[in-house]
């Protein structure tokens, strides 16, 4: 490359990232550029995420703690809160088991249908939750495919808890598998084969070798699943019938309070939802940090 050409080609080259970064930090224009990028990124975050969340907290506690206490001791709120927890407690373990199984099938299996399965597993991300809800009503409703059979056996799916659980499970289906697959690929099969030569059966190999190796991927998937399940609105809104004190989950309750001009109730419930999500994130962070400290 000619010397004059080097000046014209001032683009950072990927071949030498370390010296380029060092040169940039000494370079005034570079420093200004980095500052601009930071301001832009933080500003975007503040506008999109921080400001609304702060506003919610502010509005909630604007008139002190008493109205908030009233809001969260309301029977309908408490029912919605417990229902949300119940749905999460059922849907998340189901999806965790399914997601791990699916990841194993896709990454370790030998089926010819793996490609197709990989596509299907992402469908819940692609389809609007409202469509999921409608489809469930069509399938499980009185006039649906399974309607007669379900009615005969006295099982009520739509407008009741089973329907809410199914809807929640569907919309949060892909997370565990999607987080686990890359980890499975990365760890490879050597350790599993080593366990086999040491006499471990498939089940023992899974519990003692594979699962511990992928556990951080699984934990992350579980956290995302939990967050998604807690917050699900569209699909649950369609299938639950939104019956106050019966099939109203926390997000539905927020919407209901908001529409009925009970702003304090809406804000308080929203804050509780946000805190639940935050708690999940913090729990994951603590768990992973403890794991990383041990170097495993």
């Amino acid at each position: 490359m000619s010397a004059s050409g080097a000046g014209a080609l001032a683009l950072p080259r990927p071949a030498a990232p370390a010296p380029a970064a060092g040169a940039l930090s000494n370079d005034r224009a570079g420093r200004r550029r980095r500052l601009a990028v930071r301001v832009l990124a933080l500003g975007y975050l503040a506008l999109l995420l921080a400001a609304p969340v702060v506003m919610i907290f502010y509005r909630t506690f604007e008139h002190g703690l008493a109205p908030v206490w009233d809001a969260i001791t309301a029977p309908n709120f408490q029912h919605a809160f417990l229902l949300s927890l119940e749905v999460v407690a059922i849907a998340v373990p189901l999806n965790t088991a399914f997601g791990i199984g699916m990841a194993l099938l896709l990454e370790r299996g030998r089926s010819r249908w793996r490609g197709a399965l990989g596509l299907i597993i992402d469908l819940p991300f692609a389809i609007s939750p409202v469509v999921v809800g409608l489809a469930l009503v069509l399938a499980y409703g009185r006039t649906g495919w399974f309607g007669d059979w379900l009615t005969e056996h006295g099982v009520q799916v739509i407008f009741s808890v089973p329907g809410i659980v199914i809807a929640t499970a569907i919309v949060s289906l892909p997370f565990v598998a999607r987080e686990t697959i890359p980890v499975l690929r990365e760890i490879g099969t050597d350790a599993e084969q080593a366990a086999t030569t040491l006499g471990a059966g498939e089940w023992q190999t899974f519990w003692r070798v594979t699962l511990p190796a992928i556990r951080w991927g699984v934990v992350y998937g579980v956290v995302l699943t939990t967050a998604r399940a807690l917050g699900e609105f569209g699909a649950v809104s369609v299938i639950s019938g939104r019956i106050e004190g019966q099939t109203q989950t926390l997000p539905l309750y927020v919407q209901d309070r908001f529409e009925n001009f009970d702003l304090t109730g809406a804000y308080a419930a929203a804050v509780v939802l946000a805190l639940l999500a935050l708690a999940t994130l913090v729990a994951m962070n603590l768990l992973t940090r403890r794991g990383r400290e041990r170097g495993t």
């Binding site: 030569t197 041990r294 495993t296």
Partner: protein
């Protein structure tokens, strides 16, 4: 236990990894599978362990047909090239894994683990995690883990491949002595002919999915069956279609009836060994391997013309 592999073939798609391979390993022997990468040596090892199923042929271990037996019931110890540690377990957990699977009592496991850690010189590191060990320590941990279940056969895939030169030499020597101590039938895979010759009693040379020749290192060196074996085991100097051992080419101080003239083109000094690249009168080139002392006595210099004596070259039927 003796291992007998008969007429094993294995294909991956269109690639033939093993092509009608037969190998016999005597009880208690230490055998090397030697060959370039892609020669099928690792695949053969994995077939013996049951980690791959052969398309045809059979595998007998200790006289028992193990061709269709799953890996977990073959009682083989397998040491993986990259050690395959269980990263979430301590060194003791790794080594005791096979015993734990077999539901041995806790005290027995502890005792056996500490014996093995002493054997592989890792005592004191029982509580460490694999991420806190060096390559050589991981290698020895993997070996102890494989030995813990008292396998009938020990299989090692490129056991020293990922280690630096010094650790390698040390571990080779140590494996040799360990084998003298515990006498378990051992096969290891390597692409390093020096390693194979130094450690193994018997060497199986593989190339392109086939066994080229099997024998002791001396047999392979002195009576190579073909040019591949000759050039893979020890240095070779080519003279047209003929193969010479460069140390068989003598550089003389005085010409005689059996000598011919050659010009010194280049001298490469490698410490004790000196390589002399020579051009013969007809323009062909060979190289001779002489000692430093001989080189000094001859007072070699580049461009010099000297008498050399060529050995009877070896010709292999195509």
């Amino acid at each position: 236990m003796a291992i007998e592999v008969q007429n094993v073939s294995k294909r991956f798609g269109t690639f033939t990894a093993l092509d009608d391979v037969s190998v016999r390993v005597a009880d208690g022997a230490l055998t090397a599978l030697l060959g370039p990468s892609g020669s099928g040596k690792s695949t053969l090892l994995r077939v013996i362990a049951g980690l791959e199923q052969p398309d045809s042929g059979s595998v007998h271990i200790g006289g028992q047909d193990m061709t269709c037996a799953p890996a977990r019931s073959r009682e083989v110890g397998f040491v993986f090239q990259h050690y395959a540690p269980f990263k979430h377990m301590t060194v003791a957990g790794n080594v005791g894994f096979g015993l734990k699977i077999r539901r041995r009592p806790k005290r027995e496991i502890e005792q056996r683990v500490s014996e093995l850690l002493a054997l592989v010189r890792l005592d004191g590191l029982a509580g460490r995690y694999p991420s806190q060990l060096s390559g050589g320590q991981l290698q020895r941990m993997a070996l102890a883990r494989a030995l813990a279940v008292q396998p009938n056969v020990l299989l090692l895939d490129e056991p020293f491949g990922a280690l630096d030169v010094q650790v390698r030499a040390e571990l080779r020597e140590w494996l040799r002595r360990l084998h003298d101590e515990i006498h378990v039938t051992t096969i290891f895979v390597t692409h390093d002919q020096e390693e194979a010759m130094e450690v193994a009693g018997q060497i199986v040379v593989m190339n392109g999915g086939r066994v080229e020749q099997a024998g002791t290192s001396q047999e392979l060196y002195e009576k190579p069956r073909n040019e591949f074996v000759m050039s893979f085991i020890g240095p070779v100097s080519r003279l047209g279609d003929a193969y010479l051992r460069p140390h068989d080419i003598q550089i003389l101080s005085d010409a005689d009836a059996s000598s011919t003239e050659a010009m010194v083109r280049r001298i490469v000094r490698l410490g004790f060994e000196v390589r002399v690249e020579l051009t013969l009168p007809d323009g062909r080139e060979v190289w001779a391997q002489i000692t430093r002392d001989t080189a000094n006595e001859l007072e070699l210099s580049e461009g010099q013309i000297l008498p050399v004596r060529l050995p009877a070259p070896r010709l292999f039927a195509a």
